[in-house]
Amino acid sequence: MIFFYELKKLVLSPLILSLAALCVLVNLTFLLVERDGLEPMGQTARPADAVAARTVPIFEGYRTADIAESYIRWYRLDGTNAQRIRNKYDKLQPVVDRKAAVGEKPPVYFSGRMSDFQVLLFGKLLKFISQEIGLLALLAALLAAAYEQMRGTEPVIYASKTGRRVQLPKLYASLTVSALLSVFVIGASLLIFFALFNFSVPWQADVSSVFDHALGETKPFITWHDLTVAEYLWATIGIGIGLALGCCLLGFAAGTGLRSAYGAFGAAVFVLAAFDLIARAPFLPVGSIFKSAWGLNPMWLWRNSGTWFTDGRADMLWANFETLGLCAYSAAFAAAAWGAYHLLRRREIH
């Protein structure tokens, strides 16, 4: 029953509700601005003709070693760091061979404009959304964890039978609200996107076929696993929500572990900023294991959301890095939340 009371506190919080609405509003504004920048659809009205006319088998004879060598040249790598890059792309070659064997080909449905939509939806909109829902989840958890402290009700609640264990239903409520907010922001934003743009792609076609290129690069869009466009969209949404729930755990850990709501917010923001700043630091060379491991953090994953399920460029040495990062940081934040909760159970309330 406490869970429902905690859920109600969050769901009816003006701060959370207005921030969620603001996120949708920002996304709407962004999409309206982007729509004005895109050229008219024109020839995409008859995609079937375009398919017949411009099918090109790009995976046939494609060598992933070339991608490795271009990165090695670009970053001027040598030694073990270069070798690690080569090893990764060697592992990607069977994926390309498999795609070539089943006749994967580049898209023509939008006659070159597919890339624009791909960049807009996966490279920008879903990136913003995943960051927004992460921030919302962080705030929801902070609010839930620090709610009693901010209102001076800790003494009466902690002296009740439930006592400090009240933090557990608060955690469950903040996770639930984070998921609900994520669904709301994603749902509303995608609804706006599909209302504004004629994104009539073949949803059941392989994503490597439909997308022109990897985002911002000339290489093909190669995913480690075969994914249809629909599966890719759902998987991207899933990782986004997963990261939001991870942020919720981080917010709960900060809100429960620190005695100041502002201090907790500052600490959570500091942790996320540190992830980002260190990931950009020059002392982490491309191709090193530490660089790759550090890149598993939520900030890096957010900034590179367009590369999820693909090779992850030169920064990443491992396949499925987004899933690996999500699991690793969710586990780390869950451990931090658990530690903060146990700290609170032993802490004196003055």
């Binding site: 029953m1 406490i2 009371y5 009693e148 209102r151 001076g152 009700t153 800790e154 003494p155 009466v156 609640i157 902690y158 002296a159 009740s160 039978k161 439930t162 006592g163 264990r165 009240v166 004196e348 309330i349 003055h350």
Partner: protein, 284 residues
């Protein structure tokens, strides 16, 4: 039986309470001491918000910290600074408190209505608490403390900020609630407890100074409290207690270890005299 065995509380090098031995059974216990004497520290330890540095607090022989929830379900607690949800009605707030006290829903609903009537908030039960006076908030506070029908009711400075009428009402309420339970009341306002406390606990210099009935505590000053309208004539060392105007004269009440003869009239000491006498060296 709730008992404290040589309880000491330290914050770093600062000792807030030292070697406190106390026993509580049914009745009203008034913790009387000036501000900063350690009353709230003791109260918070009884409410398990803070823990003794040394010594132990036992409920029927078991450590209350180890008893955890099974001890907390027996207590009702009203802190000195009672926090509440400003945008909730008393009923909504009490419903939430009933949930954290693990009361069954139907049982809680009935209890909430009873308590709202008992504390005299029936007419405002549906109004947001942000518009409530200090007295009304304190009444919500006592209602939440009573929700689980506690065996131990712990009240920290419950009358602070209340006007005289509300304080009288509050005293009567505490008195009516004190049947069949332990009521531990911390205050520095003597009049709050003079008529309702069965036992007075005085803390001084971080230690237990005295614990006895109000009459017995007052008796420690018997023969030492006087009144006079000519204080300038008193030649023996004395401690001024209070002054009042009576028929155009200033009547001074004072305490002295020495016999004042016929220049002053010996009077029966009250708790306020004891308080002023015991804490004469403290900053007022």
């Amino acid at each position: 039986m709730l008992s404290l065995n040589r309880v000491t509380k330290q914050y770093g090098n600062f000792t807030a309470l030292e070697h406190i031995d106390l026993e509580f059974s049914q009745g009203v216990y008034a913790l009387l001491a000036p501000n900063g004497a350690g009353k709230t520290t003791l109260i918070k330890m009884l409410a398990t918000l803070i823990f003794p540095t040394r010594g132990e607090i036992l409920w029927h022989g078991d450590d209350i910290v180890a008893l955890d929830a099974s001890y907390r379900e027996l207590i009702g607690y009203l802190p000195q600074d009672f926090g509440y949800y400003r945008n909730h009605t008393p009923r909504e707030f009490l419903r939430y408190m009933a949930a954290v006290k693990c009361l069954k829903r139907d049982q809680a609903a009935q209890r909430i209505d009873e308590l709202i009537d008992l504390v005299g908030l029936s007419e405002v039960r549906g109004k947001k608490m942000r518009k409530f006076s200090g007295g009304m908030i304190q009444r919500v506070g006592i209602a939440q403390a009573m929700l689980n029908n506690p065996q131990i009711l712990i009240l920290d400075e419950p009358t602070a900020g209340l006007d005289p009428k509300e304080r009288v009402r509050f005293r009567n309420l505490i008195s009516s609630l004190s049947k069949d339970r332990i009521v531990i009341l911390s205050t520095h306002i003597v009049s709050d407890i003079e008529t309702i406390a069965g036992s007075v606990i005085l803390l001084k210099d971080r230690r237990l100074f005295a614990q006895d009935s109000p009459a017995a505590v007052c008796a420690t000053l018997a023969g030492k409290v006087y009144e006079t309208d000519a204080i300038e004539d008193i030649r023996v060392p004395h401690l001024l207690l209070t002054e009042r105007q009576e028929n155009g004269r200033t009547v001074t009440r004072f305490a002295s270890e020495h016999d004042c003869g016929e220049s002053a009239q010996s009077v029966n000491p009250n708790l306020e005299d004891v308080f002023l006498y015991v804490y004469r060296d403290e900053e007022r």
